[in-house]
């Protein structure tokens, strides 16, 4: 177990001579506390897998250093970093039984056989694999194989961190939550640092205590699920988290208050009147509601999702999504909407304008 620190890490893949390097990972300085459950959340190509491979040592960063418990490990090979990694596609040694698969990392390190047996049985029980220990690994289903991959990481006693690279990709959709819960349970039981890479916000928000949101090679925000949802510091975070994502609408400032569509939006936002740049407000669909005297809109689409309805409305050229309760009725004659002032956030050039209480 240890504390992992990134100091000014940047990574560019080798490019042709004479061309400027393309950074897959822009400047990152981040601390991963011992025993924490972290998620790296972001769309494809944002650099999260690159980051993971740098932690595990499968990739050496072109700049910067990595420290495990204040010890420099940047040049240390993978085997000496005591890291376990679970990949997107289950990796099992087909010719071996489940037991032998789990025992493999221990036997490679010369652990005496009785201790191996003890450890494997313990981990197999945690993963509900006890009744299949003697089966050939190749015969298991996808989620069984991923459990074996996970087990091979857990079975080692000297593991500093376990890294997951979109591990639920091949799992049947209706079995995903089982493996998700199992991972969370294991984290609570064992307490080893776990870093989980995904593009699925449900997986990230469920699993992690701290979520690192990445976009285009940079870390955009780090926070717990509640903060990320309620106080997104970047429009990308607002858009990416929540389904549907946050509405981002252009606005102007008048006397320090944001104005949208000629409606003064009271937001408790005493702002510097000399902010310049692209000004936008962000409001989540949950906090948009119908009212009697507000912004006039046209209703474009209503989708019934069971527990709520997603209503897409339009004001001039701007499209706004709102969530309306299951049984609530939608006004058909000149509908008007309002935004909950407490949930309104102001953004300048995509970054949140902090209010005194933020």
């Amino acid at each position: 177990m240890s504390r992992i620190e990134f100091k000014d890490v940047r990574h560019a893949y080798p490019s042709a001579a004479g061309q400027a390097p393309v950074y897959a990972l822009k400047e990152i300085s981040q601390v991963w506390e011992d025993g924490g459950a972290y998620a790296l959340l972001g769309p494809s190509g944002c650099g999260k897998t690159t980051l993971l491979n740098i932690i595990s040592g499968l990739l050496t960063p072109s700049e910067g250093s990595i420290l495990f418990d204040d010890r420099e490990v940047t040049q240390l090979p993978t085997t000496e970093r005591h890291i376990a990694q679970v990949f997107q596609f289950p990796v099992v040694y087909d010719t071996m039984s489940v037991f032998d698969n789990l025992a493999f990392p221990l036997r490679n390190r010369g652990m005496p056989e009785p201790r191996v047996r003890e450890r494997v049985t313990e981990i197999a029980a945690m993963l509900d694999l006890s009744d299949r220990l003697n089966q050939r690994a190749a015969g298991l289903t996808a989620d069984g194989k991923q459990k074996i991959s996970l087990g091979r990481g857990l079975v080692r006693e000297d593991v500093n961190a376990i890294l997951f690279d979109e591990p639920l990709t091949v799992i049947d959709p209706h079995l995903k939550w089982q493996l998700r819960s199992k991972l969370k349970e294991l984290h609570q039981q064992i307490g080893v640092t776990m870093i989980y890479v995904t593009h699925d916000q449900v997986e990230a928000l469920t699993f992690a205590d701290q979520v690192v949101v990445m976009h285009d090679g940079a870390v955009v925000q780090v926070g717990n699920p509640i903060d990320l949802f309620n106080k997104p510091r970047h429009t990308f975070v607002g858009y990416f988290i929540g389904s549907p994502g946050m509405n981002v609408l252009p606005c102007k400032l008048e006397n320090g208050q944001p104005v949208f569509a000629n409606n003064l939006l009271s937001s408790g936002y005493p702002v510097d009147t000399d902010i310049s740049g692209k000004l936008e407000i962000g409001i989540r669909p949950e906090f948009v509601s119908f009212c009697d005297d507000g912004i006039p809109v046209e209703i474009e689409k209503v989708e019934d999702l069971g527990r709520y309805q997603v209503v897409t409305v339009k004001h001039e050229a701007e499209q706004i999504k709102m969530l309306v309760g299951e049984d609530q009725s939608i006004p058909s004659i000149s509908p008007q909407i309002q935004f909950d002032p407490a949930s309104l956030r102001l953004y300048c050039d995509d970054w949140a304008v902090e209010t005194p209480d933020a």
Binding site: D172, P173, H199, G245, E303, G306, R307, V310
Partner: protein, 354 residues
């Protein structure tokens, strides 16, 4: 084009992949096939396309029988889960390929390709090869190729499953608009109930090769004819429990009971089953109170999904707001009994909510 399946079934060797079913699909809306991975969605689509011959039954298109007609002669386009494009053709050539096969003049091909490339936001990428594109762009190319054909029947087999979460949302928004004006019959297979609800139209729920129910999506959702239907069309899974009815009271257990609606009260006493959607079970509020032992709590944006054990049943509660629980903690949950779906001994719905 109206597609009709009459008593169609598919048997491969000793296994039945599709049990006898009859369906009628209309143009101008999304016809969704909803079911888990091996439920038979792909087999059914292949039957509709003509890639497989049915073991029994007949297929009709626009009033003409097409059962034995080879797929090349039918007006069909298909998009798959794995982004399938001709790897050595540029995006332009990929989209143009069905038109070239049809023998259209060059000018017309060019105009059409550009039209659909524009619709799918592929114009800056027309000269690139598929492996130079991102997943979303590759799938858009496949969609463009399917659209440009102007086929009467378009089959989409879980086309968004391999894409990023957010990309999936965006494309899902755009798909109905893309197909709205073509007049084609669109069949869309998915394993996510939420997608079915978002896309609207008509839905056929499938389970293990059987078409459980077919009808307007929201109707199927709110009035599943069978317990199986309720199960298939629910994510997180619907809460099921056995109850015993005596007179006009339903007993979940000795300590939990409530009054049943008149329709059910009039039926004979005995064992029944209830189905309760997760978002109707909540830790706050009023109604019937049950004790739940918390197994795991998951957070999704602003919702909490808590899995609990209630009277020995595995139940799920979905509520707004973030609630945290300890594993094994015992808390009260509430549900409004009028939201219960009641099923009789044959797992058929007793219509109490109309």
């Amino acid at each position: 084009m109206t597609i009709e399946l009459r008593n169609v079934s598919l048997r491969v060797g000793a296994e039945t992949h599709i049990y006898e079913t009859s369906l009628s699909l209309q143009p101008g809306q999304f016809n969704i096939l909803l079911g888990t991975t091996l439920s038979g969605k792909t087999s059914l689509m292949r039957l509709m396309a003509g890639l497989e011959k049915p073991s029994s039954g007949r297929l009709w298109a626009n009033g003409a029988e097409v059962t034995g007609v080879a797929v090349q002669k039918r007006s069909v386009a298909m998009v798959y889960q794995a982004f399938i494009n001709y790897p050595s053709f540029s995006v332009y050539d990929n989209i143009a390929s069905p038109l070239k096969v049809a023998g259209l003049p060059k000018k017309e091909i060019d105009a059409k390709v550009r039209e659909f490339a524009n619709l799918l936001k592929l114009t800056p990428m027309l000269e690139r090869l598929p492996n130079e594109l991102s997943g979303g762009q590759q799938q858009r190319t496949a969609l463009a190729r399917a659209l440009v054909k102007g086929a009467d029947l378009v089959l989409l087999d879980e086309p968004l499953a391999n894409l990023d979460y957010k990309l999936r949302e965006e494309l899902r928004d755009e798909l109905p608009k893309m197909f709205a004006d073509t007049g084609a019959t669109v069949v869309y297979a998915t394993s996510e109930p939420l997608e079915a609800l978002l896309l609207g139209g008509y839905t056929a729920t499938l389970n293990e090769g059987r078409v459980v129910q077919f009808g307007k999506t929201s109707t199927i959702y709110r009035h599943p004819e069978t317990l199986e239907g309720a199960r298939v069309f629910s994510d997180p899974p619907v809460n099921i429990a056995a109850i015993e009815k005596r007179g006009d009271t339903a007993y979940l257990s000795a300590s939990v009971s409530w009054n049943v609606p008149a329709k059910l009260a009039a039926m004979p006493d005995g064992k029944y089953k209830i189905g309760l959607r997760p978002h109707h079970l909540s830790p706050n509020g009023a109604g019937v109170e049950v004790d739940g032992e918390v197994q795991i709590a998951e957070i999704s944006g602003s919702e909490s999904i808590v899995r609990v054990i209630v009277e020995g049943n595995n139940w799920v509660s979905e509520t707004h707001g973030i609630h945290s629980y300890e594993f094994g903690q015992s808390t009260s949950f509430f549900f409004d009994s009028s939201r219960c779906l009641y099923f009789d001994a044959n797992e058929m719905l007793i219509e109490t909510q109309l």
